[in-house]
Symmetry: C2
DNA sequence: AGGATTATAAGTCAGATGTATTATGTCAAC
DNA sequence: GTTGACATAATACATCTGACTTATAATCCT
């Protein structure tokens, strides 16, 4: 047979091609043919790695979450050994906004997936699980920051977590050129300042 | 000829049918045939009122913005003559979240439209104009509240406006059942409390 | 060496979609 | 009563979609 191929690697390459399609041509162009072309392979070849369009989307979405985590993790390493929770939150929020190509692609993927999730139980569960998990991480961070005295103990961890996550609402404002990326970052800084200043 | 028909009225009926399709079956089912069926008319009849799918979407989107404004306006009347700006903002934000059928429909329409806007210049401009206008209204409200001493004069109107609009980021959290509607409203109240408390 | 297995390519198919065309019915104006 | 503008319906059509099938070539394993 032809040289054995790393399926996982191939699937990731396809997923990245899919992101490029979403970012550059839009969700309506998210067809197996277009993705195959973008990935530089035939439709038949793509179907060899993904039995169905749904399976392809599902993988691409999980991979997007995963890569976002990786980007955050890489950013954290630059912050040194024991980074201030304020910086961790700032980095995390910044990576969830469409501020550079990769983040923009994964952000748009998420948006499209959420829309698709609203009427597909399986997709809904997958998307929900990812978000719940991410939210839990942020809440844990907030609780620890309160315990460590970085955040006023009068703050409710759950509410503060929700307010932080809501800041991803900047996404559509940025995408539609209503505000500039730096405006969003400035607002995030103001919010974080208030959250940590009160300690 | 057959009885004269109010075109505007017919178009609004079609737009509402379109919303129902978006809300109940999802964006992928947003086809002229399905919308026609939901509106209880033939495909040909629908085409008599909208020459193209794009024209139909464009109208439905404008109508959605318009109806959201109307809902806010109606809510404001219940607040009496000179409502507190805090209540005005709370009402406005609440109407933008998917908390009841109409709001959910228009919210999902917006989300779908934003996604489509990213790769269609005309749609982008239409969506952008609507958002910029809405943002201007909120900023004016914030500026007035500062001038009236309801909000601390140390606050930057632009940044505070952006933070308020970012709270629409609760939308996806609510849609995916990550948080409950009351959690979102509680968080909004906390944010507004802080904004107005400092005065 | 040769059979088994896999990667890749190409073609086919049924269904759906937006749009265009045509037909039919209805009613107002002259 | 005939004409013409309008509402509605039905159908046709080219295109695109995901899924499936088939064909070919490459290499692994025995």
């Amino acid at each position: 047979m032809p040289k054995q191929v790393d399926h996982r690697e191939r699937r990731e390459a396809i997923a990245r091609a899919l992101w490029r399609v979403v970012e550059q041509r839009g969700v309506t162009q998210l067809t197996m043919r277009v993705v195959a072309q973008e990935a530089g392979m035939s439709l038949g070849q793509l179907q060899h790695y993904f039995a169905s369009r749904t399976a392809m989307l599902s993988f691409a979405m999980d991979f997007a979450s995963e890569q976002t985590s990786v980007r955050v993790q890489q950013g954290l390493e630059k912050l040194g050994d024991r980074p201030h929770p304020r910086d961790v939150l700032r980095l995390t929020l910044a990576e969830m906004l469409p501020l550079h190509a990769d983040a923009r692609a994964t952000s748009r993927m998420s948006a499209a997936y959420v829309l698709e999730a609203l009427h597909d139980e399986a997709v809904h569960e997958q998307a929900r699980r990812g978000l719940v998990q991410g939210r839990a991480l942020v809440e844990q961070l907030v609780r620890q920051a309160i315990a460590d005295g970085h955040i006023d103990s009068g703050r409710d961890p759950a509410t503060e977590t929700n307010l932080l996550l809501a800041l991803t609402g900047f996404t559509s404002l940025i995408e539609l050129d209503v505000i500039e990326p730096q405006d969003a970052l400035a607002a995030i800084d103001v919010h974080l300042d208030r959250l940590f200043r009160s300690a």
